[in-house]
């Protein structure tokens, strides 16, 4: 009697240990200086928020491990004609709450992305109409041939129609609405991770979604904590309290490199830093000089020759950047490998300024943010002293981004000399032509970030043609030619391509993309 009892007890124990041990729970503790601003995937188009949510929600297409565009919720697609695309949806996909994914969810999400309070209307700007052909097929018709429709769709996240309707989340958050914004603090996607708890600005916990359709790494739980103070962030990594910090402040690279059990992971980021010069006013602002010196190409060339971008990389960026020859980096389509940067040469700069009628240089004001880009304030200080060598006296206004952006962006464009940067979210240089380099045409939504106000009609024409050319090679050539024209005109002075620098525990294996993406399904904790 007692023997059988013991045996069954032993069997029960053996059974329970057997079921517990193989499930190795691997927790990844991440920290960053910011937090996602919302859990609603259509309410704030901000890179960190988008990439955070890309672990919870999915789109029709996404970047795979090698940064190629691959089907996600779309199993496959075909082009019926130049403007009609037909997407076959993936079978057997469920949302975190268990409900099945189907074509009406895609249609609903597209309606939602186009609604009044959405911040993602631009994603579907080229789309004429869309419809569900059947339960598992969606057809999208574009206004004109759109060669980068797939790139545009990368940022379109799909929500569950029933869930959104049941919870009053049919439209993205409306700040005017009296009711609580359910979708800001709750999520129900199809992604590899689901939200377990969320306290914005404090802590967010994600758990691996066991009904996920795809392959994932071994991370089963993610604890994300924003740590605003850079010194605390690095200390938390060094003391082993977090496994991954992103980004790692440049001044702490050496500390992490020398630390035990931690490492620095870095790769090129798609962010290109540049200096902008007012080319649209007849009189530059906040400067005693008569007229606008920047209207003369020689002055712009002189500035490019005078600013030693390599020195800025070596000293200010501590080597964590690469020299920019143009206004996009090499992984962006339309990058022109033949272009070179005007070399650093004080004498050339001086003689160009003299030819343009400024042998003694001139005085002007520069606007700069101090908390937006990596070491932005110091880049500007370096620029000021480099320009002083050619006689240009720069009065620097270094200000927090909360003051900087309202001053310099549309509609005022209140600066004549500034530091800025751009990341083309589509990884295609057409995005840069539409927002930054193309001639300003605010009514048609073009050039809203062309703060310099530069204009090269030939390049505009090439970009417009590239926008509707489906032949990939011909299109690439057009964008490259357009880029060459902009560089020749010195629309902006390119500085550098920033590096993405993360600090991680030795045991953590990460995947970095040129965008700030952190696809946690490819991460592993060994």
């Amino acid at each position: 009697m007692s023997k059988t009892y013991l045996a069954s007890l032993a069997a029960a124990l053996a059974f329970s240990t057997a079921t517990i041990i193989p499930v190795q729970a691997e927790t990844l503790r991440m920290a960053s200086q910011g937090d996602a601003t919302s859990l609603d995937p259509h309410s704030h188009n901000e890179s960190f928020t988008n990439y955070f949510l890309a672990n919870i929600y999915e789109g029709l297409v996404a970047r795979d491990k090698d940064f190629e565009i691959a089907g996600q919720l779309a199993q496959s697609w075909e082009q019926v004609d130049a403007t009609t695309w037909r997407f076959t949806l993936r079978d057997g996909v469920t949302f975190h709450d268990g409900s099945a994914f189907a074509a009406d969810d895609v249609i609903f999400s597209m309606d939602r992305a186009l609604s009044e309070t959405s911040n993602f209307k631009h994603v579907l700007a080229s789309v004429e109409s869309y419809s569900a052909v059947d339960d598992m097929t969606v057809e999208i018709v574009t206004k004109a041939p759109n060669p980068i429709l797939l790139n545009d769709l990368l940022d379109l996240m799909i929500l569950d129609k029933q869930w959104a309707e049941a919870n009053g989340a049919v439209e993205p958050i409306n700040l005017q609405a009296e009711e609580k914004a359910f979708s800001a603090t709750n999520a129900n996607g199809t992604g590899p991770f689901s939200v377990v708890s969320r306290a914005q600005g404090e802590k967010t916990t994600l758990a691996a979604f066991d009904g996920y359709w795809g392959e994932t790494g071994n991370v089963t739980e993610v604890v994300f904590t924003p740590i605003n103070n850079a010194a605390t962030l690095v200390s938390a990594l060094l003391s082993g309290e977090v496994d991954l910090v992103m980004p790692l402040p440049l001044q702490d690279i050496a500390r992490v490199e020398n630390g035990a059990g931690v490492k620095v992971v870095s790769s090129a980021e798609a962010r290109t830093m540049y200096l902008g010069m007012d080319q649209w006013r007849d009189q530059i602002i906040e400067s005693p000089v008569e007229g606008n010196p920047f209207l003369d190409l020689r002055v712009r060339q002189a500035f490019a020759h005078a600013v030693d971008a390599q020195a800025i990389i070596d000293r200010v960026m501590q080597g964590q950047a690469t020299l920019a020859t143009q206004y996009v980096m090499d992984k962006v389509s339309g990058y022109n490998p033949d272009l070179t940067r005007l070399e650093y040469n004080v004498e050339t700069a001086k003689s160009l300024l003299a030819e343009a009628g400024y042998p003694e240089g001139f005085e002007l004001t520069m606007d700069c943010s101090t908390d937006r880009y990596v070491n932005d304030g110091q880049i500007c200080q370096a620029t000021v002293s480099l320009l002083a060598r050619v006689g240009v006296k720069v009065n620097l206004i270094a200000q927090p981004k909360a003051q900087f952006f309202p001053k310099v962006v549309a509609p005022d464009f209140g600066t004549s000399f500034f530091l800025l940067s751009w990341t083309p979210s589509t990884m295609d240089s057409l995005n840069v032509f539409q927002n930054v380099l193309g001639t300003r045409d605010l009514e048609n939504g073009k050039g809203a970030w062309n703060i310099s106000g530069c204009s090269v009609p030939e390049a505009d024409a090439l970009a417009a043609e590239a926008a509707v050319t489906m032949d990939a090679a011909a299109r690439e050539k057009m964008l490259q030619d357009a880029m060459a024209l902009m560089v020749e005109d010195v629309c902006l002075v390119p500085l550098h391509v920033q590096q993405l620098v993360w600090g991680a525990a030795e045991k953590v294996e990460v995947v970095q993309h040129p965008t700030f993406e952190f696809p946690l399904e490819y991460f592993n904790v060994n």
């Binding site: 601003t37 919302s38 609603d40 309410s43 704030h44 188009n45 901000e46 911040n119 993602f120 209307k121 631009h122 958050i173 700040l175 005017q176 609580k180 914004a181 800001a184 603090t185 306290a199 914005q200 600005g201 404090e202 802590k203 904590t225 924003p226 740590i227 605003n228 103070n229 010194a231 605390t232 200390s235 938390a236 060094l238 003391s239 082993g240 309290e241 908390d371 927090p400 981004k401 909360a402 003051q403 952006f405 309202p406 962006v409 549309a410 509609p411 751009w422 979210s425 927002n435 605010l442 939504g445 809203a448 970030w449």
Partner: protein
């Protein structure tokens, strides 16, 4: 009763004024719309959002609208959190209260005995050392001290966690992290940093008051009567030093509430201070306005409490009132 009503009225006026000053300043905190939308958002869409948030109205109109809503208990929705501001504050307040209470208790436990001791044995080596340390406590910036503590206790020794708030449990209806070891270990360093400055100030004040009182006639009489030292120091002398000390403690505690900002930032403590910094960075006007009003409230309440305590500890004030 009349006294209380008058004070409440006073508090309301203070908060209205604080909010008004706040709204005058908000014009310079930046454009909230830019922190709400992405880089691809069109200029018209930005303008439409600005209009719908009422940001194009004159500042006094915005202020009036805010006050009318606030009087009905509606403090608006935070731009950056998309949540009710009052809910946000209710969420974050306990963490700050916890920190302030812990550091307040710590500083009183240390400051009162140390103040009395240095007042009595002011020439002794120990007293001199305490005084020297208190100067350091008053003068070292809190962010520097915080980072030093993290370096020593978290990175080098690995004894204490460097950031965040620990496990929260409910004991007797109070939700706090101070009831668990994990919670205490998280709170210890930030509380120590917050406590150090007050400790220095209160200690020096008690010492100065003790020196003053010990010179007075009634203490000499007490010695002459042969009363034991303990009774003279603690019962007769200490009690008479308390009026200015209580004022100082009251003010210190309320400024801790308002200005635990740096400490919370360094230790990523999820309290009111880190909320304020976030709100400033995002130009989150509803959150900023509510924070300022709240700070006004804390100062008025603590002054009220200090006044009430005077009456308890000094009968002369009580009788003088009639």
């Amino acid at each position: 009763m009349y006294f209380l009503l008058a004070r409440l009225l006073q508090a309301t006026v203070v908060m209205l004024c604080v909010a008004l000053v706040g709204f005058l300043v908000f014009q310079f905190v930046g454009d909230p719309v830019l922190s709400l939308v992405g880089q691809e958002t069109s200029v018209e869409d930005r303008e439409a959002l600005r209009e719908s948030l009422g940001l194009n109205d004159p500042i006094l109109v915005q202020y009036a609208r805010y006050v009318v809503n606030a009087l009905q208990g509606d403090f608006g929705i935070s731009y950056s959190f998309n949540r009710d501001v009052s809910e946000m504050i209710a969420d974050r307040l306990p963490a700050t209260i916890e920190l302030v209470m812990l550091s307040g208790v710590l500083s009183l436990i240390l400051a009162i005995p140390a103040g009395i001791y240095t007042g009595i044995r002011r020439k002794g080596g120990v007293a001199q050392t305490i005084m020297a340390l208190s100067v350091i406590g008053v003068s070292i910036p809190s962010f520097l001290l915080g980072i030093l503590l993290i370096l020593v206790f978290s990175v080098w020794l690995n004894w204490l966690p460097s950031f965040g708030r620990g496990d929260v449990v409910t004991v007797l209806g109070v939700r706090s992290s101070l009831f668990t070891w994990d919670g205490l270990s998280h709170a210890l360093m930030p509380a120590a940093v917050l406590c150090l400055f007050q400790l220095g100030v209160i200690l020096r004040l008690i010492r100065a008051e003790m020196l003053e009182v010990l010179r007075t006639d009634y203490i000499r009489f007490a010695w002459a009567r042969g009363l034991p030292g303990q009774r003279i120091y603690f019962r007769h002398a200490l009690k008479n030093t308390l009026v200015p000390v209580v004022t100082a403690i009251g003010l210190q505690l309320s400024s801790l509430f308002a200005f635990s900002i740096i400490t919370e930032r360094v230790f990523q403590w999820p309290g009111m201070g880190s909320l304020l910094l976030h709100a400033i960075g995002q130009s989150d006007i509803p959150l900023l306005a509510a924070y300022l009003i709240f700070v006004g409230l804390v100062f008025t309440i603590s002054n009220l409490v200090v006044d009430a305590v005077y009456v308890l500890i000094d009968p002369r004030i009580r009788h003088g009132a009639h």
